[in-house]
């Protein structure tokens, strides 16, 4: 009956109305709903929870997490952005910089370059150690580029590519300088910037950049250069319901109100009938609310506990490894918290 349906909607859907969003907060706590047992139950959670990988390639991952609370999904997103460690350039020792780019700007740009090194094999550098780091916590790179005039250029050429040699400094000019036993641990070419065609600076004849970079392990909370994801985001699974059958011209209009592929118009017994085919594709532009007739026919909602995560890696680690690392970080936090709770006395 209608009341039961309304309760189900309140518990499981976030409804997008014409002028606002309803049922945003989680309300299924014990005692809120008569007849429902909402207390935390590990077995029920394990039965309902699932993770489905929808699409994965070397740099991006799309997966669904079904049956968890918003707080946990958000925690994973926050951890992916800010608390999964990577290696990035922290200290730049400038021996010579006669380029037009100031030292500090150059150092800032170098810090943002993603470095292809597995951060799990390194340790955090202890604070307060100003001398060069050890092989267990530091990576060294050398960048040495000098721009000269090309003696073989044509007399009247104006193309910098012809006139000058080394006038553009790319990440491929960065060379790894192994410290200690790093040369034995990492094969040739394993430690490098992720992309070798990032433009660092531009030079003209006579200008030179000669510097040494130290990379350390850090987390995104400290500086965004340490963030391992281009971005990590989630959205809730859309749920589109047609409250009445939509036929004929209205069906065509309805299918145009949504993203392509969401509404399918079928020919049944000569009439065109609209059917919700794939609500997952919809981006919820709410175009349907601008149509006076159709806005009463459709209920736009999102499934409250179905999260579609999209993780894009910068290339440091594959995205599935990043998600596992994020889960380990969360487990580490909880374990540390439990241990501390044991240790602290009530005052």
């Amino acid at each position: 009956m209608a009341a039961a349906q309304a309760v189900e909607e309140m518990r499981t859907r976030v409804v997008l109305g014409e002028f606002g969003v309803r049922n945003v907060h989680t309300t299924d706590f014990p005692g809120n709903y008569c007849g429902y047992d909402d207390a935390w139950d590990q077995d029920r959670f394990e039965k309902n929870f699932r993770v489905d990988v929808v699409h994965m390639d070397e740099n991006s991952l799309e997966f669904d997490m079904v049956g968890i609370d918003a707080a946990i999904a958000n925690a994973f997103r926050r951890i992916l952005l800010a608390e999964v460690p990577t290696m990035a350039v922290e200290k730049v020792l400038v021996y010579n910089n006669t380029s037009i780019v100031q030292d500090e700007i150059l150092a800032h740009r170098l810090g943002l370059i993603p470095i292809h090194a597995d951060p799990r094999l390194f340790e955090y550098r202890n604070q307060g150690e100003d001398e060069g780091g050890t092989e267990i916590d530091t990576l060294q790179f050398r960048l040495q580029v000098r721009c000269t005039r090309n003696p073989h250029a044509a007399k009247d050429s104006s193309d910098p590519n012809e006139l000058y040699v080394n006038h553009r400094v790319y990440t491929r000019h960065m060379t790894w300088v192994p410290l200690g036993n790093q040369a034995d641990l990492f094969p040739e070419g394993a430690i490098r910037p992720v992309h070798d065609d990032i433009l660092i600076a531009q030079l003209r004849p006579g200008q030179e950049i000669d510097l040494l970079m130290h990379c350390v392990k850090g987390i995104g909370k400290d500086h965004a250069k340490f963030s391992p994801v281009a971005t990590a985001s989630y959205r809730l699974l859309p749920d589109i319901t047609l409250l009445e059958p939509v036929e004929g011209e209205a069906a065509e209009e309805l299918s145009r109100c949504f993203s392509p592929g969401v509404i399918e118009v079928q020919e049944i017994q000569g009439k065109k009938v609209a059917r919700v085919a794939n609500p997952r594709l919809d981006t919820f532009s709410r175009e349907v609310f601008r149509n006076e007739k159709l806005k009463k026919v459709v209920r736009l909602a999102r499934v409250r506990d179905h999260y579609i995560f999209s993780v894009e890696s910068t290339g440091v680690l594959p995205p599935d490894v990043l998600v596992s690392e994020a889960i380990k970080v969360l487990m580490g936090k909880c374990q540390r918290f439990l241990d501390e709770l044991d240790a602290v006395q009530m005052d």
């Binding site: 935390w40 918290f337 009530m346």
Partner: protein
Amino acid sequence: MTTPSAFRGKKKITINKDIKVPKACLFTINKENHTLGNIIQSQLLKAPQGLFAEHRGPRPWQHKTIIHVQSALDCTPRRPPPVPSQTSPGSSPCWRRESERPHSSARTK
């Protein structure tokens, strides 16, 4: 700055009893934010003995979360309802019960 070594010497958790309300506690957790605070709050609300639970970050420049919990009369904010082996009123809060003893939720009803 936020590496583990930056942390040495500071207490992670401080527990204060809330004087205004019976059976309530304030847990101040250093160097944590909404990532952990929101999770703990939502799990505390799921526990049948949890009457009130909130997490707040008092000021943006103070890197800590405060978790404010009030529990029902038959258990204290730190520990779940009495397990025969424990005599002192200071046992682990409900979320700990979930992670350590997953079947105790059936017993509490």
